[in-house]
């Protein structure tokens, strides 16, 4: 078990920089998830930690030792690959034993460790099979088993569940979480699926275009996203973003007028730092679909009129896809079943306490105003 520190770690391929100086500290025993859209550099970052890619700049520190110049084999980490990367010409047993054989472990120890790992992952009956004779989930477990037998200091997972079907993915998700609880080893997990990140992580690192957008616990990211990208990436369906402006700023905060209802500023104020916001500043108001309420105007909310385009009834919940007078789209997540149908007009409330305010003057970053 070990902690990991990244200090200004960067990766360049020729003139292109794919990782822009990342700082990160992973504590011993922590489950950290790197999440981001494809091409954000999360896999590259993981491979740099693993030692399969060299860092162009910065320090990678494992357990207090700088390991930039230490080979992948010597770093004492284990990695589970997206394609599992099981050796197709070896049996499950040989796959599990290969790493230990390379370390010249005594045969008896290898056997004990392999059988122990196989038992833990319910692979006992499959030890003599070849990878091609296994199902996706079994292959996944073999790949994890191959990592376990070597007692690594850190587990690295590179999108391990993306080749599995939805049901199996949920199951493997909880198995990996349980494994983490049992082993207590530091784990770093890469995924593009924010649900995986939310359900498994102690801490999430959101990456975009080679830079860290935000680091925090799942709920921190959900409740207090630092910018529009994180707000939009975490949560499903995506957060609604409505353009508007700051109507007034007083001590208790700013009151917002939405473009969808330009003459009605919110009756409750959003706390913002006076230094960062000015009157008439363009802002983005973010609100999650599940926080929007339908029906008569409520105090402490912004009210807008929405035209329903489409209704999705899931039984336990309903999604209403609406268009506002400004042409912006709004998704409403109502619990239970609703009586609305497409084409109807309705009033929706956006409770101010649940909204997030982003600076719209720089649409690219759109930092949260607090």
């Amino acid at each position: 078990m070990a902690g990991l520190q990244l200090k200004r770690v960067a990766k360049r391929y020729g003139a292109t920089t794919v990782i822009h100086g990342i700082d990160l500290e992973v504590k011993n025993g922590e489950f950290v998830v790197f999440v981001g859209p494809s091409g954000c550099g999360k896999s590259t970052l993981l491979r740099m930690i693993a030692g399969l890619e060299s860092a162009s700049d910065g320090d990678i520190v494992i357990d207090g030792n700088r390991v930039n110049d230490v080979s992948a084999a010597q770093r004492g980490l284990a990695m589970v690959f997206q394609s599992y990367a099981l050796y197709p010409h070896m049996t499950v047993y040989q796959n599990l034993a290969f790493g230990l054989e390379n370390l010249r472990t005594p045969r008896a120890t290898i056997d004990a460790k392999v059988r122990g790992a196989a038992q833990m992952l319910r692979l006992d009956a499959l030890l003599e099979r070849r990878p091609t004779q296994l199902s996706g989930g079994q292959r996944q477990r073999v790949a994890i088993g191959r990592a376990i037998v070597r007692d690594p200091t850190i587990f690295l997972f590179d999108e391990p569940l993306s080749n599995l079907d939805a049901e199996l993915r949920v199951q493997m998700r909880s198995e990996i979480t349980a494994l983490h609880a049992r082993l207590g080893t530091t784990m770093i997990y890469v995924t593009h699926d924010q649900v995986e990140a939310m359900t498994m992580a102690d801490r999430i690192v959101v990456l975009r275009a080679g830079s860290v957008e935000q680091i925090g616990t799942p709920l921190e990211l959900y409740n207090r996203p630092d910018n529009r990208f994180v707000a939009g990436f975490i949560g499903s369906p995506q957060m609604n973003f409505l353009t508007g402006r700051i109507a007034t700023i007083r001590d208790e905060g700013a009151r917002i007028a939405l473009d969808a209802a330009p003459h009605a500023a919110s009756d409750a104020a959003l706390p913002v730092r006076v230094s960062t916001a000015t009157v008439e500043q363009r802002v983005l108001l973010g609100i999650r679909p599940e926080h929007v309420t339908i029906g008569a105007a409520q105090a402490g909310s912004l009210h807008v009129t929405a035209k329903i385009d489409r209704v999705e009834q899931l039984g336990a919940a309903s999604f209403l896809y609406c268009t506002l007078s400004s042409g912006e789209r709004l998704t409403v997540h109502a619990s239970g079943q609703v009586g609305y149908t497409g084409g109807e007009q309705m009033t929706v409330n956006l409770p101010v306490s649940d909204t997030h305010l982003f600076d719209a003057t720089d649409a690219e970053t759109a930092v949260a105003l607090r």
């Binding site: 992948a72 990695m79 390379n102």
Partner: protein, 350 residues
């Protein structure tokens, strides 16, 4: 058997045989005769005795003159069908022949001799497989030595070829380094140099190294082949890099990755190259001819050549030797041919 019958009676469409069917079968038959006719003739001729080989007109099958043991004669006598002056024909054994007159006896009643003109007798013939051709080449000539030399060169050279070419292909397909493509192109471009052009330089090198008249002098110069590197590299490109990454995470050294991961997974391509290499080495003539000049170092091909004397050639032995020489390559090809098609297909296109 049933599948062979189905294959041979396959037709275009369901109904009666179309003219294209006749044409196809005719064409295939022509090809079969062209390809296999000479080989078949060679094999059948190798079973002919020296006398039968010299006969004119030649026979397809190894006919030999029938002979019988006759009481009072030590060796069996050749049997003839004789037309006697009274018009009767009988099978008689020839005792001797003087000029145009032959003296024959009845094998069952050897006491009475018949004197006939040689034009009135024709040999009685039957199928005789002269297997002695085969057994004698081992006894009379150091055929075993030649065979061993050929086998040694073929096996050792093939093993070294596989190893060297696989190592080069591994580096060229799985490592990223400056000038990789240039090196690969350079290797491929040596395909354009005819072997005869580098014959003299090669000879000088081998001679300087003191490898003349040594089997190693035949083996070493040809172990690195551009074809082999190409086939193996193309195949290794299809092995996922993640496997190598996984092996690296598994503490495998680069040599272990090569030996335990890359080589086993390249087996189909290695099989193809092995077949090629065996055929090249086994059939190689020019280079061994230059390097090896002592008889005890001769390969089979050289021995076959040396066997054609300036004045006389013992064709029956030569043909038997040729058949034995053909056998190994034929067997290799017959058993491994499925790898050739699959291997070439997968080596060419991903």
């Amino acid at each position: 058997m049933a599948s062979v019958a189905t294959m041979l009676s396959a037709r275009r469409g369901r109904g009666k045989a179309d003219w294209t069917d006749w044409f196809s079968y005719g064409y295939l038959l022509l090809g079969l005769v062209l390809m296999f006719g000479p080989v078949l003739w060679l094999v059948l001729s190798s079973f002919k005795s020296a006398a039968a080989l010299n006969e004119f007109p030649p026979h397809f099958l190894p006919y030999g003159q029938k002979s019988v043991a006759v009481a009072g004669h030590e060796t069996p006598l050749p049997l003839y069908r004789v037309t006697l002056p009274d018009g009767a024909t009988r099978e008689l054994a020839e005792v001797r022949r003087i000029g145009i007159q032959a003296t024959l006896v009845d094998p069952n009643a050897p006491d009475r001799e018949y004197k006939v003109n040689i034009r009135d007798r024709t040999p009685v013939r039957d199928l005789q497989f002269a297997t002695g051709n085969y057994s004698e080449i081992f006894a009379k000539f150091s055929f075993g030595t030649y065979l061993w030399n050929s086998v040694f060169i073929t096996v050792v050279a093939t093993l070294i070829t596989l190893l060297f070419n696989a190592m080069a292909a591994f580096a060229l397909s799985k490592y990223r380094f400056g000038g990789r493509d240039a090196v690969f192109l350079l290797i491929i471009s040596t395909l354009m140099i005819p072997p005869t052009i580098i014959l003299v330089p090669n000879f000088l090198v081998v001679s300087e190294l003191g490898l003349l008249n040594s089997l190693w002098g035949v083996i070493w110069p040809a172990v690195a082949t551009p074809t082999g590197v190409f086939i193996l590299r193309q195949y290794m490109l299809t092995i996922p890099d993640e496997l190598i990454d996984a092996a690296r995470m598994d503490h495998a050294s680069e040599w272990r990755i090569f030996w335990r991961i890359i080589l086993p997974l390249s087996a189909p391509a290695l099989a193809v190259l092995a077949i090629f290499s065996v055929m090249w080495r086994w059939n190689d003539f020019l280079w061994p001819l230059i390097v090896l000049s002592r008889t005890e170092k001769f390969t089979l091909q050289l021995a076959l050549n040396a066997f054609q004397g300036e004045l006389t050639t013992q064709w029956h032995y030569l043909l038997a030797m040729t058949v034995v020489t053909l056998l190994p390559v034929t067997l290799v090809f017959a058993f491994l041919q499925k790898y050739i098609t699959t291997g070439i297909a997968s080596a060419g296109v991903k």
